[in-house]
């Protein structure tokens, strides 16, 4: 009995805690994927590579490789580049959406490969480390070790996601975004500038990806593929949410974070990717319309 309690206190709670922390990051990635999917009907497979490129830009700007500026300035500069890339991607993809959603989705794979190629060309295939400028701090609450990194991730995620939900729920721009997501024709009839709202969504999504990338990289390292691999988890989070629900993908992100942690610890870290795919398949079978789908009744 004691052994079980000990295992709970020393293994399970910390695993769940750190799962929630990384889960918030998966949610940031997933929210971007879902925003783009909702308003443009495209799964943006370049999301991870673009976010990874942003992390490398921050590395390049701070390390002296490209520039030697402070972390904050580097992030601002990288954000400008990433919004420009989001804009270009949208400009490239939007004519394809007219012909077919699938064509456009496959085209995002191409964009992703180009961005990955650019990353390799500029920064090479080496592994680098990119830390966050947060104080090294750790405290223990009820046997749970909480670090400055954890608190940074949680507070950034809460503020970012909170701000996003406020904009989408309570502003005119948010109404436009939701209108385009659920009935683009009605939005067009009302005289809305669809392209402007979509560019907003693509830019915000890219920004969320950058925030997620910068926060996840300190836990591992940075290479041309790490952030793209991280986005696989974000993708799973979006699938759990049904790929069309922002709150659903938030829940999905945290769920994936916890599940992956438990699986890696109790079963096997080697099969983590397999487990992730099983979770995606299971989610698609059990709740194909997302974990929050049955909340609302059918439409009349």
């Amino acid at each position: 009995m004691n052994a079980v309690l000990d295992s709970l206190a020393f293994d399970l709670f910390p695993l769940v805690w750190s799962g929630i922390v990384t889960g918030c990051l998966y949610a940031l990635g997933a929210l971007g994927l879902v925003m783009i999917f909702k308003c443009s009907r495209v799964v943006n497979f370049s999301h991870g590579n673009v976010a990874g490129f942003a992390a490398f830009l921050v590395y390049g700007f701070t390390s002296g490789l490209l520039l030697a500026v402070s972390w904050g300035v580097a992030v601002l500069l990288a954000a400008v580049f990433i919004v420009a890339i989001a804009f270009l991607t949208y400009a490239l993809i939007s004519p394809l959406i007219q012909t077919s959603d699938l064509t456009a989705t496959i085209a995002t794979l191409g964009v992703g490969l180009i961005v990955q190629g650019a990353t390799l060309l500029l920064f090479g295939a080496d592994i680098v480390s990119l830390d966050l400028p947060v104080p090294r701090f750790a405290t223990s609450v009820l046997g749970l070790r909480i670090t400055g990194y954890d608190l940074t991730v949680l507070s950034v995620a809460v503020v970012t996601i909170g701000a996003l939900f406020l904009v989408i729920d309570f502003t005119k721009l948010g109404i436009a975004f939701r209108a385009i997501s659920s009935n683009a024709f009605a939005a067009e009839v009302c005289g809305l500038n669809l392209a402007r709202v979509q560019v907003f969504a693509w830019s915000v999504a890219a920004g969320l990806g950058v925030i997620g990338a910068l926060l996840i990289v300190p836990t591992t390292f940075l290479s041309a593929t790490t952030v793209a691999a991280f986005m696989l988890q974000a993708f799973a989070a979006a699938v759990i949410g049904g790929f069309a629900s922002l709150p659903g993908s938030l829940i999905g992100g945290i769920l994936i974070g916890i599940l992956m942690n438990l699986f890696t610890f109790y079963v096997s870290p080697e099969y983590a990717s397999t487990f992730l795919l099983v979770v995606i398949l299971a989610a698609l079978n059990v709740f194909p319309n997302g974990i929050l789908a049955p909340v609302r009744g059918s439409r009349v």
Partner: protein, 244 residues
């Protein structure tokens, strides 16, 4: 009366071969209600969508003295041409109030709020459900919301595409009575597409009859007051199917 909208030799094509509208010309005077009447597939909706800028058409469309063919839907809404689609196309995921905000998206805040009060006064049926999801509304209420949303933009010309579609006769009458009120109060012009002659006559000043994408006849409503004349118009232009 000067023409608010003039359409000259409008043709609309679907794909390379299929022609939905063929060389149609007519005009809508300011402050008037003009109806396009015809069976399904007569090209009524295509004309409306071409006027709204939602599909491309060949020919000249003049609004308030300026050519508008080739401009975007957005530009036409800004000029005061607002399309109320058939099947209503309200955004179910938004609340009633948010749908109205959407209709007046480019209108400055204070004007939008006062206009929303006006619309909710006009349609008390939806005012009580203003903060609920639009998907909860019945068909008739959705039609009222769609018209209300159109009014939010402050239109000078409202393009009403089959407002009676799928509504019970009593609701159709209520919607049309409300439209008559709007017209009397705001003096806006309406281009109306319908299949139902009796309902159309309650509102329209003149009626154009369409068949197979062409205009085949034109009557002023007062010419159709007489039962025999109306029956003659039905027989000539609409065929037995449309005789109520």
């Amino acid at each position: 009366m000067t023409d608010l909208l003039r359409i000259d030799h409008l043709s609309v094509f679907y794909g390379a071969a299929a022609q939905a509208v063929e060389d149609v010309s007519f005009s809508v005077p300011g402050n008037a209600v003009v109806a396009l009447l015809g069976a399904n597939g007569a090209g009524k909706s295509s004309i409306m969508k071409a006027v709204a800028g939602l599909i491309p058409g060949r020919g000249a469309i003049t609004f308030d003295g300026a050519r508008i063919d080739g401009t975007t839907t957005r530009a036409r809404v800004a000029r005061g041409i607002v399309y109320v689609p058939e099947g209503r196309a309200v955004v179910g995921d938004l609340t009633v109030r948010e749908n109205l905000v959407l209709g007046g998206y480019t209108v400055p805040g204070p004007a939008r709020r006062s206009r929303m009060e006006m619309v909710l006064d006009l349609f008390p049926e939806i005012a009580g459900k203003a903060n609920g999801g639009a998907w909860r509304l019945s068909g008739g209420e959705q039609q009222m919301l769609a018209i209300g949303r159109g009014l939010m933009a402050g239109p000078r010309l409202l393009l009403l595409d089959e407002p009676s579609l799928g509504l019970a006769p009593l609701l159709v009458r209520r919607v049309f009575d409300r439209l008559a009120t709007i017209r009397a109060e705001s003096g806006l012009a309406i281009l109306l597409v319908e299949q139902n002659l009796a309902m159309t006559m309650r509102l329209a000043d003149e009626i154009h009859f369409l068949r197979g994408g062409r205009l085949i006849g034109h009557k002023r409503t007062d010419e159709l007051r007489d039962g025999a004349a109306r029956q003659h118009a039905v027989d000539t232009f609409l065929g037995a199917a449309a005789a109520e």
